[in-house]
Subunit: 141 residues, 2 copies
DNA sequence: AAGATACTTGACTATTTTAGTCAGGTTTAT
DNA sequence: ATAAACCTGACTAAAATAGTCAAGTATCTT
């Protein structure tokens, strides 16, 4: 059970962005350097974030990215959703008609996995980008 | 972020075992049939569970496996631990001297990943095999 | 107008992990 | 004896991951 770097990088990059974008657009190059993430990879990630309207892009010299919403309105769940970082505990889900594994009943542990998914997703739904930045500033003082 | 089948199968198989082992040892063949998990794969999994003393094996005809502890004393965390299903959110952890990415400070999101890991692990620490079986029986009635 | 900076897109690929399979054992109840 | 069931280690196909690479386009500054 592990978080992929795509999801992790997306959050790291946005946390970085949230700290600096009130001054001026932040270039991926800067984020790349500060966070140690490959520029090419960041471009992939931000392309998705832009399509989901989490960030806005500004082209040209002095360009970069800015947040498209207030930091408190961007939850981790929105970020993970944008980069296709899904919480998945089990396959037996979609075939609503039948139970799991094509059998007529739910598998013994079905409810457990549902609970687990909810448990994790709740964490992601509650936590906002603002929380992240705040925690960080507080620790610095 | 997903659960691997190894961890999932281990829990499913043990839940199955917990329901039947008060009568007689349960053969992997039976579990394989009931849960739809390959026998060969189950053998790999139970080898690990036995080494961690979660189950006990009984060889020969009429043999099989039984739980080695009471169902309420077997937590999901013990099961996942036995089959190497780890919760991992981030790499930057072990190099205790330095911060993340070899830098002198913690990465912006370090605490977040720690929180997330704890959040998930708490779920695994609380949930026992007994809980699972109970919930299931209750649902059936 | 030129050049530099920075975003944009899509294809490509090496590595790692996963999810098993396969083959050959050993033990023990009947 | 023999069949059921455990035991072990090696092997592998397929998928996912974590990027790289190449070839653009847009816009600001001078």
């Amino acid at each position: 059970m592990k978080l992929t770097s795509k999801g992790r990088y997306a959050v790291m990059a946005l946390a970085d962005l949230a700290r600096f974008d009130n001054i001026s657009p932040v270039s991926l190059r800067d984020i790349s350097l500060r966070q140690g993430i490959s520029l090419d990879y960041l471009e992939q990630i931000f392309s998705k974030l832009r399509k989901k309207e989490i960030v806005q892009s500004i082209r040209g010299t002095q360009g970069g990215y800015v947040l498209n919403k207030k930091a408190k309105d961007i939850k981790l769940t929105n970020i993970f959703d944008a980069v296709d970082e899904k919480v998945k505990t089990v396959q037996c889900k979609k075939e609503s008609k039948k139970g799991c594994n094509g059998k007529s009943t739910k598998c013994l542990t079905h409810n457990l996995w549902d609970e687990l998914e909810n448990h994790i997703n709740n964490f992601f739904k509650e936590k906002s980008l603002e929380d992240l930045v705040k925690e960080n500033i507080e620790r610095r003082i």
